[in-house]
Subunit: 366 residues, 2 copies
């Protein structure tokens, strides 16, 4: 299986970066590290646009270090392997999600929860770069060099472009569904039908559960039914909400903005679980009695470990699940951000990275 | 074991009631139902004063029906048994907690979770009375008639007066500790050291865990250490709180008023659980990221089922656990409420019901 190293250094590569919170994303050359023994070099073919890319590029969470090259839904092909690489060979279709490094020795890493690494995981972008210093640069770029331990195999059954969003959105949904035992016979609510929510409907259906889409308009409810939802509930219809109190076992709440989570909690049966995956920045208001009266559980979840991410990809391959995507050239990234901000995407933008070569030709020609 | 019925009717009994939300509690005669085949008549010896008694008597939750006779931490002796009663005989020391009836046939009842009865459990006071109509009257009274299925055996090792608060406070603490697997090697936080919290410290220690009392003053922290806490943390000491981020497995949060639950959640390790048992009326503010980053769980719990309540009493007997109580005559009930409201009790008032006879003599003599 081991293939010879094809390149010792990769050096400078083309990318798209934001230089400050107000600047549009624009071409920039970034440096990639030398290929280490356990590293692979990946030619990036597609990169999904996650809502966090926008939050981070615009410094909406107040922690961004500039310049930033976003992108953590990366699909590409191996173009070089380090001398000790065993799992991959040149030409393989592979994926990189939100994580590119962790200690691999702490209890969390040993439990396959590298995202909770006790020494701090390295995220794919805007995270301290332990190799080159500065911050890591993400997938809006030509190439990336990553330790093979953090590289996922993209099953051949999956369309590579439409599989890209699974690397973040897919695992963010799959991990809590496994944790909270979503299965046949369970009633699952999916609140918010966007990038995360549309994948949640598909995965919950594939796990055999009965899915109720919880959304704010009849048109979104209809769209959710097209995705496979069995039922729908309009969250600002007080009568409908009251009728559905205590009907659901699990709710995946993907709403990214402030909302009435207490009203959603009331939809849960005894011992029911609401998992926050949308992560609004504002605090949520919850009544103790809503939780106590029926021993309801409010929790949250972020991505998942590497082994489980591979399990999710294999599960999606077995069930024919990919994201619904709109493919764009990198030159339309700022327009895509603007549309995403308005919720104008069904359901995920994916950048075709072949466009980056074209872009940079123009950029250097200017 | 079966003993003959000693009385067919009990009729009118002495009690203390509030007639409206502003009136002090005062003597009143109430009716008890006839003894049914599976009923026992209990001569009440002691009744604990729970914070909910005060909330309900003063209609702080907006649902009280007057007159109200509070009291759901009842310890007494069997004085008569119905023809079909098998578990108890005259003279037995028994307890009644918050529940006196449920359907016993729904899935929740079959699972031993009568408090979650799908047809609605009957609570010991201010709950629709299925036998006599009107509302049920609680333990601030001479006698009570209850189906033996809802009667607990008070182990002989326990002081009856000090055992009374276990019927509500004890099970409210024990049930979530069992549910969330508190055991040797676990680090447990107890937030709020009052009626519930002081029992939580004792039960968590008896389960073998390392206990940190989380409270607002050094004097309360010292008091908690006297109760058995291994450690303490002053919740408004920001440095101490920051130092203790991610150190606890489970927090039992017994604080009855609005507080910063997000700060407490941050003390939890990955997959840690905070259980709300204090039930403040105001909504609590929680940040989604606090939950998501470490898959933390926020939940709540209220009392427990009958089988588990007996298990708790037997556990307390085996470990010598009772509440720390201050015994009062019923004539001091209004003073006790006033002191409880100021937090001036270590840690639970218990009414000596022998005083009720004296009281009513005076009352009728007036």
């Amino acid at each position: 299986m081991k293939s010879p190293s094809m390149a010792k250094t990769v050096g400078m590569v083309k990318a798209y970066a934001a230089q400050n919170k107000d600047a549009p994303l624009a071409p920039m050359e970034i440096r990639r590290r030398e290929l280490g023994p356990s590293d692979v070099s990946i030619a990036i073919r597609y990169c999904g646009i996650c809502h966090s890319d926008l939050h981070k590029a615009r410094d909406e969470w107040g922690v961004t270090q500039y310049p930033i090259v976003p992108g953590h839904e990366i699909v590409g092909q191996i173009e070089a392997t380090g001398s000790a690489v065993g799992k991959f060979k040149t030409g393989d279709w592979v994926g990189i999600g939100c994580l590119i490094d962790s200690c691999l020795t702490c209890q969390s890493c040993k439990n396959g929860q590298e995202q909770h690494c006790e020494k701090g995981a390295t995220y794919t972008y805007n995270s301290p770069d332990i190799h080159l210093g500065g911050m890591t640069y993400g997938g809006y770029s030509e190439k990336i060099i990553v330790d093979e331990a953090f590289v996922l195999r993209i099953p051949k059954e999956l369309d590579p472009a439409a599989a890209a969003p699974l690397l973040c959105a897919g695992i963010t949904i799959y991990s809590p569904m496994v944790r909270w035992n979503v299965k046949k016979g369970e009633k699952v609510g999916v609140a918010g039908i966007g990038g995360l929510g549309h994948v949640a409907v598909k995965i919950a259906k594939a796990l055999g559960s009965h899915v109720t889409a919880i959304t704010t308009s009849e048109s979104k409810a209809q769209a959710a039914r097209i995705l496979g939802a069995d039922d729908s509930l309009i969250s600002n219809d007080a009568d409908a909400m009251a009728k559905n109190v205590q009907t659901l076992d699990v709710i995946i709440d993907s709403i990214p903005a402030s909302h009435d989570v207490d009203a959603l909690l009331q939809l849960l049966k005894r011992d029911g679980v609401l998992v926050l995956v949308g992560l609004p920045a504002e605090p949520l208001q919850v009544f103790a009695k809503t939780l106590a009266r029926k021993s309801r559980i409010l929790t949250g979840s972020q991505i998942g470990g590497i082994t489980q991410t591979q399990e999710m990809l294999d599960f999606c391959a077995a069930h024919g699940i990919v994201a619904d995507v709109e493919i764009i050239p990198i030159q339309k990234i700022n327009e895509a951000y603007a549309r995403m901000k308005k919720g104008d995407v069904h359901y995920r933008f994916v950048i075709d990275m072949a466009s980056l070569k074209e872009s940079n030709k123009k950029s250097t020609a200017r």
